[in-house]
Symmetry: C2
Subunit: 156 residues, 2 copies
DNA sequence: AAAAAATAGGATAAAAAGGTATAGAATGAA
DNA sequence: TTCATTCTATACCTTTTTATCCTATTTTTT
């Protein structure tokens, strides 16, 4: 309804990274297996997250990706601005190039307060909260239940 | 942020139809000119709105599209269910196939109340309200100001 | 120094969305 | 009837998004 597949994968991956041991690089292919998404595609996404300074990347043996030191404070907004573009929450619902308080589309004043709620949610929802939720075991991050990949439990 | 271009055009077109004389067919090309969108593309959209019973269509001379008799009560949700598909507001933010109260993604309980607000907005916002807003002259429906198309004032 | 393991990056392929073109069918008027 | 007008239907093209593949390049281990 709101997010591209790229963004969905990015958020899932970031939450997963946040559940892992800090500072310990995690392999792209392990994240991909855990989330059940195509590894080469996910690699591109992780690379762009690294370019955007949300992840660190290390090449070579013992390489991989991991959160930056303060990564747990990353908000959903931080991620989505990278994956959806900087105007993510700025556009008119009807697609008008100019739509502001002065030159408004007929939906503008109805939409703005709802949009504010969305923005608030994206800003206040951070990886530490989300990773705690996942670690509690009450929430699932991917479609396939964990138990179907017992070989990954060791990695986790 | 939320709507496909097809949906944006559909909503714009429906609002425009609602500002017109009831029962009087309006030409696709006039709507396209007024909204400044490609006419052949808009034609497809209007046809699908007609198939979905939101518009009536008439062929031949004096033909065109117009709202159905009770069309002013059409809500944004009515339109978007047609253009975005019936699961428009039903999907998980993270794209999980299964995401409900029982098997929730970590965003679920944060997202649901915001989504409820969006759904409420879409359901309660109807064409009569929106067309009144446009007819008041305080809101604009398309990017190009009306004055640039004086030849359309007669049509309107 | 060489081998192995990992990301980086560019080229490419497939699918979906956006947009165009064309032929056909219905309607009203000359 | 015939013609212009308008929607209908289908096929097609283009662009964007999603996904894959292959070849560097970097780093660690041997």
């Amino acid at each position: 309804m709101i997010l591209s597949r790229t963004s969905q994968y990015a958020v899932q991956a970031m939450i997963y990274m946040a559940t892992q041991e800090p500072g310990q690089p995690i392999l792209n292919k392990d994240v991909a297996a855990r989330l059940n998404v195509p590894a080469p595609y996910l690699a591109k996404i992780l690379q762009s997250l690294a370019k955007g300074n949300l992840l660190e990347s290390f090449r070579g043996r013992l390489g991989g990706f991991c959160l930056r030191p303060e990564g747990l404070r990353t908000s959903l907004m931080d991620i989505l601005v990278l994956t959806e573009g900087p105007t993510f929450t700025k556009n008119c619902l009807l697609g008008l190039k100019q739509c502001s308080k002065e030159t408004a589309c007929p939906l503008h004043f109805r939409w703005v307060p709802v949009k504010e709620r969305i923005i608030e949610l994206l800003n206040e929802t951070t990886l530490d909260k989300l990773s705690e939720a996942v670690k509690s075991g009450k929430y699932r991050l991917a479609d396939v239940p964990l138990r179907l990949f017992p070989e990954l439990d060791a990695v986790a």
